[in-house]
Structure formats: structure tokens, C-alpha cells
């Protein structure tokens, strides 16, 4: 069967139309980011005058000012510390609890699992108020640990759920063999189960890194000391204190965003499949 010329032309025009739509939307996605990058190399005087995408001169000094005088060096280090500790905490505590739910017997197991599902499904937009009061009462406001612990707790329900589902699906044989060899329960978890759980660990690490790095509301409520602030809070702090310093702010935005974009580009396959699985199966 031969396709008619008319049909060919029609489908060709169709393709072009679709491509035009897709390219326009892609441009709308990318241009604000590219212009931000470009503005971070302009001077404060030219930033609102010279709208060209490619700056005439590259003023790297914006980055130097942001990093030192703007304290973005401190903020960056803080964000790295918070993200690493929070994600490590979620992986360790979450995998242990997930392993217990999948493999170990203890009274109250079903209830614990029920609580977990409930916290994932019930939105509590006001809980942040009580959390804030609690941290004040415990003298944990304006401390690193007071910021880290609630964030670990926030990531746990989904992580425990993911680990539980994963551990239930791997065969028990290896663990049984290790038990016969005299391995302790904790030893089996650490030496047998965890090495097999690498795909689940990867998903938990990637998603919680994004969440921890982008967190703002708790940092806004409880961190007042400049030396403790992560990048998102630092950005708002800088913006509030130097309203007109757009070029330095743009450098700060790029410093804040680059780690996320790099992580995203490296892991985009996992991120996109993870987000769809999370939304459609959860």
C-alpha cells in the first residue's frame, strides 16, 4: 500500500507544527534561566539597561562578592552540611525501619505501618506552628540539630515505605543463608540486605537531596543566625538587606542552583521515572 502524497505533506506539516509548539515552550522554560546566568556576569548598572543575552564583559567579581561579602560561601557550606546529614539520616533510619516492617516480627507492626501511611496522606499545613514552638521549648531553635531533625522526620514516611516495599520483593534465601552462618539480625540487615537495596537507596538519596537543598519555610522560622543559614534562607536574607544589588543576587542564585541542576542532569532518568512511579503507584 502506497501512502498518498497528500497524506505525506499533511503529516510533515503536522510534525512541524508540533515542533514549533514544543520549541517555544522549551524556550520559555530555558530563557529565564539563561538570562539569570547572563545577568550574573553584568554590573549592577548595566543589568537593567543591557538586556542582551550575551554580556559584553564577564564580571566574575559578582561571584567573588556574593561568595565573600554576601556570605554565600557560608550558606553554601551550610546547605551541603544540612543536605548530607539529613539524607544520610533518612537513609539509615528509614532503611532500618523499612527492613523491620518487611522482615521482623514485633507487636504493633501493623499499627506503626498504618501511622506511616496516615502521615503521608493527611496534610497538616499548620503543624509547622507547633513544630516551631516545640523547637523553641527544647532550645533547638536557631541550632543546626534543630533544623536537621525535623527534616529527617519529614523525609522518613516515604523512605520507610519505599524501603519496606523493596525489601519485601527481594528473595529471603540470602538472608536465611547468612542466619545459618551465625550472622546477627543487624549484621544481616547491614551486610546482606543493604547492599542489595542500592536502587532504593539511590531513589531516596536523589529525592531527599532535592527536597533538603530547596527547603525554605523551616529555615525561615527557626534560623536567625547568619552563620547557620542554608542557601535558600541566605538568598532571602541577602535580597532583604540589599534590595538593589541584582547582579550579586543573580550570582547567588546561580551558586544556589548549579548543584541542583548538575544533580538533575546526571540523574534525570531516575528522577523522572521516580516521580512518575511515586505519583501513579502511591
Amino acid at each position: 500500500m502506497k501512502l498518498s502524497l497528500e497524506y505525506k505533506i499533511k503529516s510533515f506539516l503536522n510534525q512541524i507544527g508540533i515542533q514549533i509548539i514544543l520549541i517555544s515552550v522549551a524556550a520559555i522554560c530555558l530563557f529565564p534561566l539563561l538570562w539569570t546566568l547572563s545577568a550574573s556576569f553584568k554590573t549592577n548598572q548595566t543589568i537593567f539597561e543591557n538586556m542582551s543575552l550575551i554580556p559584553r564583559q564577564l564580571h566574575f567579581v559578582n561571584y567573588y562578592i556574593a561568595w565573600t561579602q554576601g556570605h554565600f560561601g557560608t550558606y553554601f557550606l551550610n546547605s551541603v552540611i544540612y543536605t548530607v546529614v539529613v539524607v544520610a539520616g533518612i537513609v539509615i533510619i528509614g532503611s532500618m525501619a523499612g527492613y523491620a516492617l518487611a522482615r521482623l516480627e514485633f507487636p504493633g507492626r501493623r499499627f506503626f505501618f498504618f501511622l506511616l501511611i496516615a502521615t503521608m496522606l493527611i496534610p497538616v499545613p499548620g503543624a509547622i506552628i507547633a513544630l516551631y514552638l516545640l523547637l523553641m521549648k527544647l532550645h533547638l531553635a536557631n541550632t543546626r540539630i534543630g533544623y536537621i531533625l525535623p527534616l529527617i522526620n519529614g523525609g522518613l514516611p516515604l523512605a520507610i515505605f519505599l524501603f519496606k516495599t523493596f525489601f519485601e520483593r527481594i528473595p529471603k534465601d540470602l538472608e536465611d543463608a547468612a542466619r545459618i552462618d551465625g550472622c546477627s539480625k543487624f549484621g544481616i540487615y547491614r551486610l546482606v540486605a543493604m547492599p542489595l537495596a542500592r536502587p532504593a537507596i539511590a531513589v531516596v538519596v536523589i529525592f531527599n537531596s532535592l527536597t533538603a537543598w530547596n527547603e525554605y519555610i523551616l529555615a525561615m522560622l527557626i534560623l536567625e543566625d547568619d552563620k547557620l543559614m542554608p542557601l535558600q534562607r541566605g538568598l532571602m536574607n541577602f535580597y532583604g538587606a540589599h534590595l538593589a544589588q541584582w547582579s550579586t543576587l543573580m550570582a547567588g542564585i546561580i551558586i544556589t542552583t548549579i548543584p541542583i541542576v548538575v544533580l538533575y542532569l546526571l540523574m534525570q532518568k531516575h528522577i523522572i521515572s521516580g516521580i512518575t512511579a511515586g505519583a501513579l503507584k502511591g
Binding site: 538570562w35 533510619i93 532500618m96 535558600q232
Partner: protein, 295 residues
Amino acid sequence: MNNCKLKSTLSNYLFILPALVLFLVFSIYPFVSMIRLSFFSWTGIGVFKRFVGLWNYKDTLFNNPIWWQSLRHAAYITFLALTVQNGLALILALACDRDIKGGKFYRVVFYLPPVLSGIVVGLIWTWIFDNYGLFNHFLNLVGFSPLTRAWLARPGSALSSVAVIHMWKGFGWGFVIMLAGLQSIPRSLYEAARVDGANSWHVFRKVTFPLMIPVFVVVVILTILGTMQIFDIIVATTGGGPGYHTEVPITRIISNILNNQRFGYACSQGIFFGLILLFFSLIQIKISRKFKPHF
């Protein structure tokens, strides 16, 4: 022997102990104390709390036009997100579902804004929507100079501008989920419909649409839950202003504790708002049980 079994059970508890402690301290306790506090009037400092019964709720519901306004603002942004943002996401997903050149590239680009933080996105767009910013510059270039204005600072345009920013950040998320839904539909169904002489519109209505309903439900509910709780973008763009023109529920709650020191009042608002969201959350649970996803 019994002793040994008890010991084994206790050691099993050690596995969930850290999670349980964190959970009790940072989820359960705040939840319970929030409910309790909503019946008190308290400034947050000192031990003195005055029991006021349901007064906080009554005042929020019947005597607080700004609170209702903030809910309407969030509902307005949510409505735009449900129609414009998700409509665009669906069109793009349908376009990318075919064998299209650069399909992978588009997927990566469209999902880039959703991974950025609300603060970063808000600040970038504050600069774009500035009176001297990129958007007005663009309007001048294409000859629409009468339209230029300080988009985020004018009462008439602030809320819609915030909605545009929110949709820019969010449409890629809906796109990715709907594309995954479309791709899970077996191609043979399309071919069968074609053989029966159906045109594109018929195929969409009779094959694609019914199979996509569970996916639509998930996208709709998660859009509602996410957009109603919008906060970071507001903080980084308008801070709720000008006046109260972009106030949303979370900014009201936060402002009641940080600026007004009305902790009990803020808790009652949090619970009331939580109940509204719970309603949508329950619909999702109910519907997702009815439609077992076929992925």
C-alpha cells in the same frame, strides 16, 4: 526459651526505635499540641495561656475577611493551575507521546523548572516582572508598550503574575506524569481503532481519555494539594502584597505567628485549612482504590 523470644522481640524494636522517636517528637506531638493550642489564646511567650474554647475558630470563620480572601487567592491560582497549566501539560504530553524528534530533550527541559526551589524561581521572576525588567523590555520591543507595568507591585496584576510564575514552575511535573500515563497505553489499542476507521479526535475520546482518567485524578488532586499550600514563591515575589492582594493561607498562618504572635489563632487556621485539604486527599484515596492503576 521464653526469655530468649522476648529478647529477640526487643531487639526487633531497636530497628524502628529511631524512626519511632523522631515520629513521636516531631510529628505526633506537634499535631496533638496544635489541636490543643487552637482552643487557647497565647502570645507564644510566657506560660500564660487563656482558654477561649471555639473563639479562634469562630473568629477565623466569621470575622476574618482577609483569611477568606487568602483562601480565594489560593483557589484562583489553583483554578488556573488546573485548567491552563494542566491543559498545557496534557497537550505537550500528547505531542511527545508520538515518535517525535527531540522527545527526550523536551522532557529534560520541561522538568527543569520543577526541580528548582520556589525561592530561586520567585527571585528570578521578580527581576523579570520588575518595572524595568525583561518582560516589559520584551513588550516594548514587540510594540505593546502601553501594557508595561510593575507586574508584581500592582493590585490588578500581582495575583495573576504570581499564578503565571507558579504555572511556569509546575507544568513540567504534570507533563511528565501524563506522558508516563500515555506511554503505558498499549499501542495495539490505537491500531485497532485506526483499522476501524476512527480519526484522531475519536481515538483520543474513546481510547486515550477513558484510560487516562486515573492519571488525571492523581494530577488534579496533587495539583490542588500543592497549589493551595503555595508559599515560597509568594515570599520571594510579593510577600503577600501589595496590600493583601497576594496573601494565601500559609502566609496568613505564618504572619499570625511571626508578626502578630497569635499562636492559638494560627493553629485554628491551620486545622481549618488542613480539613479542607483532607477532603481532597480523601477523594484521591477513594478514587485510586476504585481505579486500580494499570501500570
